[in-house]
């Protein structure tokens, strides 16, 4: 299929990108890796009037240590995150998750900022951002992750607002991401991330709601000394996932529990 006609402009700075977005109005879209946007355009499910290409903005492609923070530029590709020695040392869970995104083609093009801004419920990074209390930095402000993901494909971003950076805490203790899917490059049917930090556990769930979910009840149970398999029983507390072609709501809730148990147990082994 061929996308509907659209304007195209390449920005060389964040300021220019913001101006271009203002110029083209709210039906304009930012083009980063394009691996979600372009398929939607080809199916004409998305028909943006203009694309503002940010791939030329070099300063958005970075991985920086900043004290006890790890700053990932919005244009940083999955493959860069996956293979970065800094990420592997400071937040190995993020490197692991990056290596589980899509296939090689997707990882060579897809970006941190693109996944965060697209806010697909099955996206992997939003789960990490939420559970680790990351900050989403834009050209206008800094938004805590728990205020960022609003609904299915819906974020707190304004029309001319561009994600520039995602700031994660450093955490290199026990961790695991268990991504359950039928084919290696598929989106998660359900994913569960576990990270030990500051003496407690952080547990995040992918694709069990319209936004990523932090499994607070599991974290609480673990804090009170529950065994992983006991705590994991709380993973589906409060969940009301929609069924899809691959999983019924009941199955997703079941997977949330099973995978939470496995994620914690496997993390303990790391």
């Amino acid at each position: 299929m061929i996308p509907a006609a659209f304007e195209y402009a390449r920005a060389s700075s964040v300021e220019e990108a913001s101006k271009l977005l203002n110029k083209y109005g709210e039906d304009a879209k930012v083009l980063a890796g394009g691996h979600s946007l372009i398929p939607l355009m080809r199916l004409r499910l998305a028909q943006p009037t203009a694309l503002v290409d940010i791939n030329g903005i070099k300063e958005l492609d970075h991985i920086k240590e900043d004290g006890n923070k790890l700053r990932i530029g919005a244009l940083t590709r999955h493959v860069t995150i996956q293979s970065s020695s800094v990420v592997k040392g400071k937040l190995p869970l993020l490197a692991e998750v990056a290596g589980e995104v899509g296939d090689n083609q997707v990882r060579n093009m897809g970006t941190m900022g693109g996944v965060i801004a697209h806010a697909d419920a099955a996206g992997d990074y939003p789960t990490l951002a939420l559970m680790l209390d990351a900050d989403i930095v834009t050209n206008q402000r800094t938004i805590p992750a728990h205020d960022f993901f609003k609904d299915l494909f819906t974020t707190a971003l304004g029309p001319d607002e561009i994600v520039t950076e995602v700031v994660f805490p450093v955490a290199n203790g026990p961790h695991k991401y268990v991504k359950f899917r039928r084919r290696l490059f598929d989106w998660a049917i359900v994913g569960v991330a576990a990270q030990k930090m500051n003496g407690g556990w952080r547990i995040g769930l992918t694709n069990v709601g319209v936004t990523p979910v932090r499994a607070n009840a599991v974290e609480e149970a673990l804090k009170k000394g529950a065994k992983p398999e006991e705590a994991a029983e709380h993973a589906s507390d409060g969940l009301d996932p929609a069924g899809d072609l691959r999983a019924s709501p009941e199955y997703k809730k079941h997977l949330a529990r099973v995978l939470t148990k496995r994620a914690i147990q496997q993390a303990q082994g790391t």
């Binding site: 299929m1 061929i2 509907a4 006609a5 398929p39 199916l43 004409r44 359950f180 039928r182 084919r183 290696l184 490059f185 598929d186 989106w187 049917i189 072609l245 691959r246 999983a247 019924s248 199955y251 079941h254 997977l255 099973v258 995978l259």
Partner: protein, 784 residues
């Protein structure tokens, strides 16, 4: 005859350097000066009346050259798409299928208008501007419901939705078997709808030249000569003035056998417009509108004795025909004739019911009828074994048709040419380490491991003709095969075959045969196919694993005719009697004096010169048609080992062994490649793939390759393959087909393994695809 050097050797595929470096020539690689582009407006509804089509806005759009609706094609295209007349005597209702809908759209994606524009993008935009006023009608989706007399109708004017209802053998045939039965097992076995997903989608470039009434079409098809026959007939053109060119074809899997509506509409548009026009199918169109595979369910009963002797079977096939009877749809009923598999039976009753639904038609898909037959018989044999507590290996051994029984006339009168089923089974069990696996299974079950071992001792019929069987079934087309071998004066050779390749490697295999027969290097043989403007008058394409056992034999025979003439000429040059001339290693010499010789090339040069024997014409070329006396019957044994995760329902294939017998092997690498691809598609059906339609709205929910899960190399285990060799007595090469074997075998092996794994839970049968969600739900239910 030269000593065989190439036949049987691991010759690397000659076509691969071109194909893997992107230098192949697929349909979209061709264009014409002044070409316009076609986009189709398709019904978004599975069933609707077309009240009005408003084209004014689209006609005025940038770059749009023309917009056509059904009425424009009435004088251009005669009649309906063809359908096999095999069921004429019993057919109940075969709906007319004009390539473009006028008043009623009967499946999602059916063409209702055609937009032609200067660019592909303008055509797509124009198609979006055509405003069709539909009155949606109830969509008939579920096959079981569609077969009920009170169902809504797929076509508003139809009396019912039964396309055909045909018993091959009535219940009386199996009555004695069921009366003497000690055990009867029953099951309903589903074959979900699959979309073929060839890497290259379809496409047509058509150029009609009005002065000469000449049409050239470039397209992606498995049988260009059939397309020429059908399209020339529908357009009222002389067959000899229609040329169909199909260069490299990126996969077909059966979906490029039959003509499609677009194959008629695109050339008709070229004639209407007086311009070359092109249409390349999008992936979305392909997933939605390529003739689908399978889409069947079977109600099966098997009667047996407690000692494992199989007695009788009763099987009814319900086949989801879709909205129209696709040209080769009826072939899929061969499943009913093959339901007995590799075993001896007192009696088999079978019946097929073709049911219309508001979905894209089904048509042959890799294996077509034979994977379904294998799946059902291999499942049922396992169910009997489970019921009587017998090992699945033992029950197979007990009931196999034995080597001494061949040629074996099976229950439906088909003659199985050869086989040694136990030999391949033994080899497969050895490679799998069967006895050890069973021990591991017992041990593992003590620790909550759900490991299972599945067998599939499959057989197949393939290699169509013979003409006596195929011509009546197709309305007069024999399905023999043609070959032409032409030797140039300097000894290089062009070979034309009426088969075609869409991944099979014919350029390699067939060249091996010719090079050996003529005693020339393989490099000097050029194999050509896929162009009706060259070579033989007719060809029958590539389908049903027929190319080698029919086309290859024709090539061998044409090559033999060339050698015969060359021998006569060599005898003349060597001044010897023809019977004293020996042809060895590419040289002719007089018996007893090998130093006095002429090479094949020297004789070829002489054939175009002076001083030929009395009555011999110049030239060195020959044509042969081969009409096989029977079908060929490959077979094999596959062993699949799985572990099911009882918590998630996920299946891991731990081992997969395939031992197959396709008679003599021309090229072991190509045989292995076919098995790898075939098994992958079988695993795809067993675990991953399914076209899912919303039963209410009739919308296809798996319309993209994100939702329709074709497995990749990541999901397929390393395969352990081997062959036994039981030469076919049906042809002098001793060969059988191998293109579909892996697919025919694999789904049964995988599902048998999963069913075996879940035995401790009391689960006997699982449906396809055995997705994690489905298995989890089944396990949960079993544990209640």
């Amino acid at each position: 005859m030269a000593v065989s050097q190439l036949v049987g050797a691991r010759v690397k595929r000659r076509e691969d350097p071109r194909l893997v470096t992107g230098h192949g020539h697929f349909t979209d690689d061709f264009t014409r000066v002044g070409v316009a582009h076609v986009a189709f407006v398709r019904s978004p509804h599975p069933h609707a009346l077309i009240k009005k089509i408003e084209v004014t806005e689209a006609s005025k759009a940038d770059g749009v050259v023309a917009v056509y609706t059904a009425r424009d094609f009435k004088g251009q295209l005669a009649g309906t798409l063809p359908a096999l007349p095999v069921f004429v005597a019993v057919k109940k209702y075969v709906p007319e299928h004009f390539p473009i809908a006028e008043r009623e759209a009967c499946y999602q994606g059916e063409i209702v208008a055609v937009v032609v524009a200067e660019t592909k993008a303008q055509a797509a935009d124009g198609a979006n501007m055509v405003d069709v006023d539909y009155e949606p009608l109830p969509a008939v989706i579920n096959v079981e419901k569609a077969a009920q007399p009170n169902s809504d109708k797929v076509h508003i004017d139809a009396a019912d939705n039964i396309c055909w209802d045909l018993p091959f053998a009535g219940n009386e045939v199996s009555e004695a078997a069921f009366k003497s039965a000690e055990v009867v097992v029953k099951e309903r076995i589903h074959q979900q709808r699959l979309t073929p997903t060839p890497m290259e989608t379809r496409g047509v470039l058509a150029d009609y030249e009005a002065y000469d009434k000449r049409l050239t079409m470039w397209m992606s098809t498995q049988n260009p000569h059939f397309i020429r026959l059908f399209v020339s007939g529908a357009m009222g053109l002389q067959e000899s003035l229609v040329r169909v060119i199909s260069a490299d074809v990126g996969g077909g899997f059966g979906s490029k056998i039959s003509p499609y509506p677009e194959d008629y509409l695109v050339p008709a548009v070229s004639r209407l417009l007086g311009r070359p026009v092109k249409w390349i199918e999008s992936r979305t169109e392909s997933v939605q509108n390529a003739y689908a595979g399978r889409g069947q369910y079977y109600d099966v009963e098997v009667a047996a004795k407690k000692d494992g002797t199989l007695l009788g079977m009763r099987v009814t096939q319900y086949l989801d025909v879709g909205a129209y009877c696709a040209p080769f749809s009826a072939f899929q009923t061969v499943a009913c004739l093959m339901a007995g598999g590799a075993y001896k039976w007192q009696g088999i009753s079978s019946r097929t019911v073709g049911v219309l639904t508001n979905k894209v038609p089904t048509d042959p898909y890799r294996g077509a009828g034979r994977p379904e037959a294998t799946h059902l018989v291999e499942r049922m044999v396992d169910l009997v074994a489970r019921e009587i507590g017998m090992d699945p290996v033992a029950i197979r051994r007990k009931n196999f048709i034995q080597p001494k029984d061949f040629p074996f006339t099976q229950n439906f009168g088909l003659v199985v040419d050869s086989g040694d089923y136990e030999k391949t089974l033994n080899r497969a069990l050895e490679l799998a380490g069967y006895d050890q696996l069973r021990k591991q299974q017992v041990e593992g079950r003590k620790h909550g491991k759900y490991m299972g071992i599945g067998l599939s001792t499959w057989i197949e019929l393939c290699g169509f003709g013979p003409s006596s069987a195929t011509a009546p079934a197709t309305g007069g087309i024999a399905l023999s095969e043609a070959a032409q071998v032409r030797v140039m004066p300097t000894g290089s050779v062009i070979v034309y075959t009426g088969t075609h390749a869409h991944g099979q490697g014919h350029e390699t295999t067939f060249s091996q045969i010719v090079a050996d027969t003529l005693g020339v290097p393989m490099e000097s043989v050029d194999l050509r196919h896929g162009d009706t403007g060259e070579g033989t008058a007719m060809g029958y394409g590539t389908a049903g694993s027929r190319s080698l056992s029919v086309g290859g034999v024709a090539i061998s025979r044409a090559s033999g005719k060339v050698v015969d003439k060359a021998r006569k000429l060599a005898a003349h040059i060597l001044e010897a009697a023809e019977e004293d001339v020996v042809f060895d290693q590419g040289k002719f010499h007089v018996k007893g004096s090998p130093d006095k010789s002429k090479t094949f090339g020297e004789v070829a040069f002489a054939a175009y010169g002076a001083g030929l024997p009395e009555g011999m014409e110049q030239g060195l070329e020959a044509v042969a048609y081969f009409d096989p006396p029977n079908l060929v019957w490959p077979f094999g044994a596959h062993v699949c080992v799985v572990e099911v995760d009882p918590e998630t329902g996920a299946v891991e294939i731990q081992k997969y062994v395939a031992v197959d017998d396709c008679g003599n092997i021309i090229n072991p690498t190509i045989v292995e490649g076919q098995i790898h691809g075939g098994v992958t598609q079988g695993i795809g059906q067993a675990l991953f793939e399914e076209m899912i339609y919303d039963e209410e709205s009739g919308q296809l929910k798996t319309g993209t390759l994100i939702d329709y899960s074709v497995p990749t190399a990541n999901e397929i285990p390393n395969l352990i393959t081997d062959n036994t060799v039981t030469p076919s007595p049906t042809n002098e090469l001793g060969v059988k087909g191998i293109g579909e074997a892996g697919t025919i075998a694999a789904s049964a092996a995988v599902i048998n393994a999963i069913s075996d794994a879940l035995t401790p839970l009391g689960i006997k049968h699982v449906d396809m695809p055995a997705s994690p969600n489905r298995l989890w739900a089944q396990i949960k239910e079993a544990r209640k």
